[in-house]
Symmetry: C2
Subunit: 414 residues, 2 copies
Amino acid sequence: MKAEILCVGTELLLGDIVNTNAQFLAKELADLGIFVYYQSVVGDNSDKLKKSLEIAFSRADLVITTGGLGPTKDDLTKEVAANYFNKELILDEKSLNKIKEYFECQKRKMVEGNKKQAYFPKGSIILPNDWGTAPGCIIEENKKTLILLPGPPREMTNMFKYYVIPYLNKYQDGVLISKVLRICGIGESHMEDIISDIIKNQINPTIAPYAKQGEVTLRITARANSKEEAENIIAPIKNEIYSRLSEYIYGEGDTSLEEEVAKLLINKKLTIATAESCTGGLIASKLINYPGVSSVFMEGMVTYSNESKMKRLNVKKETLQKYGAVSEETAIEMAMGIAKEVGTNIGLSVTGIAGPGGASEEKPVGLVFIGLYINGKIKTKKLNLKGSRDRIRNITAIRALDFLRKEILENTIH
Amino acid sequence: MKAEILCVGTELLLGDIVNTNAQFLAKELADLGIFVYYQSVVGDNSDKLKKSLEIAFSRADLVITTGGLGPTKDDLTKEVAANYFNKELILDEKSLNKIKEYFECQKRKMVEGNKKQAYFPKGSIILPNDWGTAPGCIIEENKKTLILLPGPPREMTNMFKYYVIPYLNKYQDGVLISKVLRICGIGESHMEDIISDIIKNQINPTIAPYAKQGEVTLRITARANSKEEAENIIAPIKNEIYSRLSEYIYGEGDTSLEEEVAKLLINKKLTIATAESCTGGLIASKLINYPGVSSVFMEGMVTYSNESKMKRLNVKKETLQKYGAVSEETAIEMAMGIAKEVGTNIGLSVTGIAGPGGASEEKPVGLVFIGLYINGKIKTKKLNLKGSRDRIRNITAIRALDFLRKEILENTIH
């Protein structure tokens, strides 16, 4: 079965928001083994939306839309869908009551436009919205299936998980199984070069590399009649990739670098404290996104000023004067200082120039030092990064966590 | 002139990455006054890409693609474009030399596939890539213009700014001017209700509200022959919206809540220190993303454990025992404690239950207390949030900064 994703909203056409809905649906459909060959975006315009539906149904059996189910006059996806399938819109009392209850529960006032949200093309399967006011629906007609979902991501993703997946399961024949390898510390093209002979001429599984800020991902996808068969197709390729890139692979599947680092700290019972300058709390904040990290993450300090580096971390005044705040020496004293002050196994520090100001000829924007203290040992890393302030700070946080990950693996196993 | 955005990449179809390129281009084209009615995504597949080009050019005069200019065999956008326009691919020596230099400068090895990146459809205008290895190009034929840009966002956005905008300026007739109002602390539908009579029946300017995590944005867009004329159309509507929503509007245009708060602190010479529990450094990290904040942001502490709350912030043991770590009382002591310890005008604290664990019947996931100390006064705010750990932490950080913003405006002006 072929599917298409059609996202409706002038805010998408104007670039006011990023289309995370398309990504979510694409990933979910891929996991269900339903092929998506096209995604489209169209504005809140009846004619253009109808034409988009025509094009989509000329290429696919299933079309999933997001957006245009809200209470305002701009919201017209249901109206256009009803027109496309030549059906009238009928009031669903159950949905209307649910919308009324929603507003009562939220202690908010229901507006006139919300009533419109309880009307659906005749014969639709109604998809309740337990997370907002806009119910969705499924219209089946002449082997065409149209699923209408609301635009707000939290509502859309929950409705998809709870109501659309059970519905779509009946369409699955064959499976598409993917394994995602998560990689850090190597560039995309360098990585591709190392495994180019593996990627070359691969049809099943396919191997797709892609880069995002500070990381590279490799998706190995196999098509087969069963999950087991697909996994057997993937296994030998995955093993070969591991044998060449293992030092860079930090995890598989739905994980993140911070999650892997947090798990490693918890498993090895290593306590940690962070001392951040240019990243300003980003490393602590990433680690704390992993629930349960509280058993190992003791404390974080954002020591942005020289005073706070001296007062909180015991960085020596002479070190700051002689080498500067952005130096290997300062990074070392910060890491040792925070570990000693808090009494942890690990002290992780970062000091750098995120720009746009603060640079000199010797110390350009993007110069960063990471200091790492682990049970008496000190390691440092120097980075020369490029890009915006935001990018430099983000990549620094990622590289610091990856540095920590590798050092834990190398230093504490034996 | 009508334009379309066509993003090429199987990683987009599979949902591996979010399509930020489409958003960037949409926003830039809107600012240039070039209308975009459709965006599409297609995979790395010759036939489907060619069909997508045909559909796009049946609706638009200008098509901009992203992706498929890389060194691998998957990258075939130039090949398909050459085929679509019936042109051969020609080696551009200048581009080849530039790619060679790029690799030398980066001390990386050039691979065979990179040579392919120096071939272009005959007669193309070549767009240099000063940020990576994939040059782009512009093909003009029979009143159709096709602009090919690479997929990596940093390369694509820079090439667009430096080479495509000057090229596109010649196509501008009339302007489309937008003013974006940034709003926090009110829900989208409540906001729409307050200004529904203004939004109703508006054609020029159009008023488009949309919600993102923790914020709402209102875009007022006018079409006119000149910038001045467009601004005169927008002004009265904008003033009317301000008169009704001013307490919620934190800024206009390309700004962010943290930027506005940082500027406010700097202008009013108010120093600040933060003490964060569940947000774990997110508030500090947001503030520090504004360059120049160092004159007012003194220090941040991530006091995740009870011990650190007592040791660093002088939160009383009895307070933690009697009211718990997540309580108004603890938030107050944290805010006062950090301000006193660091010696700042302002102490901002957060303590809450981000979940999924740690909740009780009395204290559910999403319960958060914000404490704010400003020059001797104490204010607090209680939040009851819903959603994932990530969402609760993010919204808490946003609401804390907005709370700070309003209190500064209310407390220190007079």
